[in-house]
């Protein structure tokens, strides 16, 4: 081993526990963000109409519609609305506009027809409407599903490792991952849809992968902890980077055409980036600490 590398390793061996401060601070900041959100709105996330109830109308436009114009027109006429464009990936040409609002579909449809000057039919538009009671119940159930999933995941982890500290390390990493991701999603201002909640569930699966691999390697392999760590790091980073690159590619292409997929992919990318921090700092340090204390 080179002198400089040796020095690095010995620094790392002496001071690694301090590194835990990074995820701890991030987690506290994220939890405060969620707390702030809850204090301000009564919910920890900003929900879109699939979870609050409301209407989403997609109009396949004949000629390009100016978003600002339609926005000015709709202002004050319908409740809390968001307008988006869908465009062709290759040419970038506007294909459709999506209007999401808390107002009813009948009302919104009438007002939109006034603006575009022709009738909205089942051919030239798609209309999705969800009653507010149902949206509310969807939201509650999905949150419940995420909590239940997390709980079932935790039990499985305990069952696999049968040892409290390593299991706790994995579970904490996944937890931190989800909380940090939601905080960033809130800060960016993404309104979470039911697809977004699916993405959070997918994230549980993706982030637990690297944690299980790491913990198994450290627990079941004999030899130097740092050497095992280095090997596991290489594997884990390949896993996460592959996922990030694949998902980012998919995001770039589907971004302009599907809100549902774009949201799933965005949340996954944010989560996977945090997964690197949480697996390779949070989980690793707790495990190293634990293994060294055990010696």
């Amino acid at each position: 081993m080179l002198e400089s590398e040796k020095a690095k390793t010995s620094w790392y061996n002496k001071n690694y526990k301090k590194l835990l401060l990074i995820p701890i601070i991030l987690l506290i900041l994220s939890l405060s963000q969620l707390g702030y959100m809850y204090f301000k709105t009564g919910q920890i996330i900003d929900r879109d109409i699939t979870l609050t109830g409301g209407t989403s109308i997609t109009i396949f436009v004949e000629k390009e519609v100016n978003i600002e114009e339609i926005s000015d027109f709709l202002n004050g006429k319908i409740e809390e609305f968001v307008i988006r464009e869908l465009s062709d990936f290759q040419s970038g040409k506007q294909k459709a506009i999506v209007i999401e609002t808390l107002s009813s579909s009948e009302e919104t449809k009438k007002i939109l027809e006034k603006f575009i000057g022709y009738k909205l039919t089942n051919e030239n538009s798609s209309i999705e409407s969800t009653g507010s009671a149902l949206g509310e119940s969807f939201y509650k159930q999905l949150i419940y599903a995420v909590i239940l999933s997390f709980f079932l995941m935790s039990i499985t982890i305990f069952f696999i490792f049968r040892s409290p500290v390593p299991s706790f390390a994995v579970i904490l990493s996944v937890f931190a991952d989800i909380i940090m991701t939601i905080a960033i999603v809130n800060i960016i201002g993404i309104k979470i849809s039911s697809a977004g909640i699916i993405a959070i569930l997918m994230l549980i699966g993706y982030s637990v992968d690297t944690d299980i691999m790491l913990t198994t390697r450290l627990l079941k392999r004999s030899g130097d902890i740092n050497e095992n760590l280095k090997q596991a790091f290489k594997t884990g980073l390949t896993m996460t980077l592959t996922s990030i690159i694949a998902v980012a590619t998919a995001l770039i292409i589907t971004y302009s055409i599907s809100n549902v997929l774009a949201q799933i992919f965005s949340i996954l990318i944010i989560g996977l980036i945090f997964d690197i921090i949480n697996t390779w700092i949070t989980n690793v340090i707790i495990m190293k600490w634990y293994l060294e204390a055990k010696k």
Binding site: L134, S137, Q141, A145, S149, S194, G205, M213, R217
Partner: protein, 500 residues
Amino acid sequence: MNWKIWLLIIFISSSLLAIFPMKFYQGLEIVSVDTNSLAYNQGLRQGMRIISIDDKSIINLKDFQLALSKLPSSENQKLTIITDKGSFILFTNKTLEISVKKIEKTRIKTGLDLSGGSRALVKAQDKELTKSELNDLISVTEERLNVYGLNDVQIKTVSDLSGNNFMLIEIAGSTPKELENLISQQGKFEAKIGNDTVFEGGDKDITYVARTGDQAGVYSCQDSGDGSQICQFRFSISLSPEAAKKHADTTCKLGTNSSLPQYLDKPLDLYLDDVLVNSLFIGRDLKCSETTQIQISGSGSGQTREEAFDNALTEMKQLQTVLISGSLPFKLEIVKLDTISPLLGKEFINTILLSALLSFIAVGLVIFIRYRNIKLSLAVLLTSFSEILIILGISALFNRNLDLPAIAAIIAAIGTGVDSQIIILDESRIINTSLKDRIKRALAIIMGIYFTTLFSLLPLMWAGAGLLKGFAIVTIIGVSVGVFITRPAFSEIVKNIVKE
């Protein structure tokens, strides 16, 4: 070759068989036939394949339109339609009320959010429905949609985590504009004279409802005076003997109309869901008669004559539908209604395929940069590709629709799959123990990941009225295929590559 690789090969080939049917059919498939039409009466049905019309073979939609371009015409035309189920000869001067589509090249069915259609989630207003009430509701709804001529319909009950029961209706293809009425209308039809109910909708009182021919149709249109147009429809119905008796008893009590002496002094009032839709004068000669034939009439209005005509026809069809299917014992509420235009579908699928392809290339590149071995890169891609193929094969086999949640699920499964393959690759390259042990250890990690994913998906089977069940099922299928079929084969392939 190892049996694990054989297993993979068997699964891949069966999936290919499930996705791509062996026979290549010619012609166009009939998607729907209006039950109210001549084509239906002559025996043309949904699912039949039109091979030729008037000896001209039908290959695409253009052929079909061309072959029928002589309609509508002023006089009856003879049409010879040859299908896979026999030939049919029609004499008509009207446009055929059937819709057709190209025969799919694959058996993969795309969901509503990709191919267009509508979905409604319905529950009773202020009332929890029991299982048997729900089943009654479903059979009435099925009948209504059927009478209406909608065939590609799926209706099922769904319940959610909070114990609510819903009826979920999914209709593929284009959505009729009156769908909302058709499914949410209670459809309580009453014919009253004064306060006495003479008969109600449903087969107890009404034995027959005329829907075609001379006994049903829109018969006149005129200016309504205020610039709009109004069209009248009428159709005849047959009453049961009991209802006819009631008609006789009630009309016996009536006197003669003083200003219009050819009629009785009280009209027959038609109520639909407690709203008066029409009042019909009763001819004097019908007094005390046990008549079984009754004419029902009504009207529709619109800005143009065409619109008024269409609306009258729509009103008639709806009224006929509730008269046949009867009413529901409770009021309904549509809690979610999605109508998705089929316009974006194809492009959507192309975009998804493009993004899958590019993601694949990206993954292959990352693996190549890490391991500097093109064979390993190819092995990873091949494994992931066969996973997708097998998931699609299973979906085709069980007629599962491929919708957006299912696509997200495939991504989730493939992502976890690639992760596991990387674990196998790295474990197999560490040289302190035998290759067999290393692979075994890799599989232990993979099983851990598998069970965590499996259990964490279970809650989605019930949450959100089952609308996300598809995601959970496809992911579970995907990760299971990965763990039990593709990954064992992948480890074998890797063993061979590493040995070299």
